[in-house]
Symmetry: C2
Amino acid sequence: MSSSVAFDASSLKFNEAGLIPAIAQDENTGEVLMMAWMNQSAIEKTLETRRVTYWSRSRQSFWIKGESSGHVQELVDLRVDCDRDCLLVFVRQTGPACHTNRRSCFYTAVRDGDEVELMAPMA
Amino acid sequence: MSSSVAFDASSLKFNEAGLIPAIAQDENTGEVLMMAWMNQSAIEKTLETRRVTYWSRSRQSFWIKGESSGHVQELVDLRVDCDRDCLLVFVRQTGPACHTNRRSCFYTAVRDGDEVELMAPMA
């Protein structure tokens, strides 16, 4: 399979709010760090700047990951899924990805009917 | 961190359609395989049966992954994110996860402005 076509972000499937989910995965450890949303412009900015940029639904503005915290995500690779309605971004993560200061947002497991915290905040 | 509380699926944050995104990750390779949606009952079924069960938005019915194809996902661990609005399921995947017969749904990369297919369908 060596077919290649020019990528056009407008060809993706966005939801009724014009957004598409983007999963961030650590390119070194393979750890899934977080899931957030992008609109077409955020995807274009991410590709242009190589700095992962989401769309903040609460603030209704671009969210350049780490802009205030310094916990930036450098884009390594951007993947599109078969249905064109979800993105996977491989990133080089500086510091914790989670606003709770944990490496990953997925720090709670459900085991034997209980929620268990697996990860402490980074020092 | 060793706090644990009883898990109640109704305490998660579902969208206006009553759904929450669930990312499936291969427990062995760390590969992100797919993203699909669950409602509260699908989560409960997944935990009860250890067979990953989504909610099909197109068919408006439960989607026991692999029920027709045999490409089942056995639940290994279920994780909840910090905002309680996204799930990560670690799975033991039988065969390809993607309906195109590829191992992962994320088989297209955007590189230098082009879309490039990274993965061929499994034999």
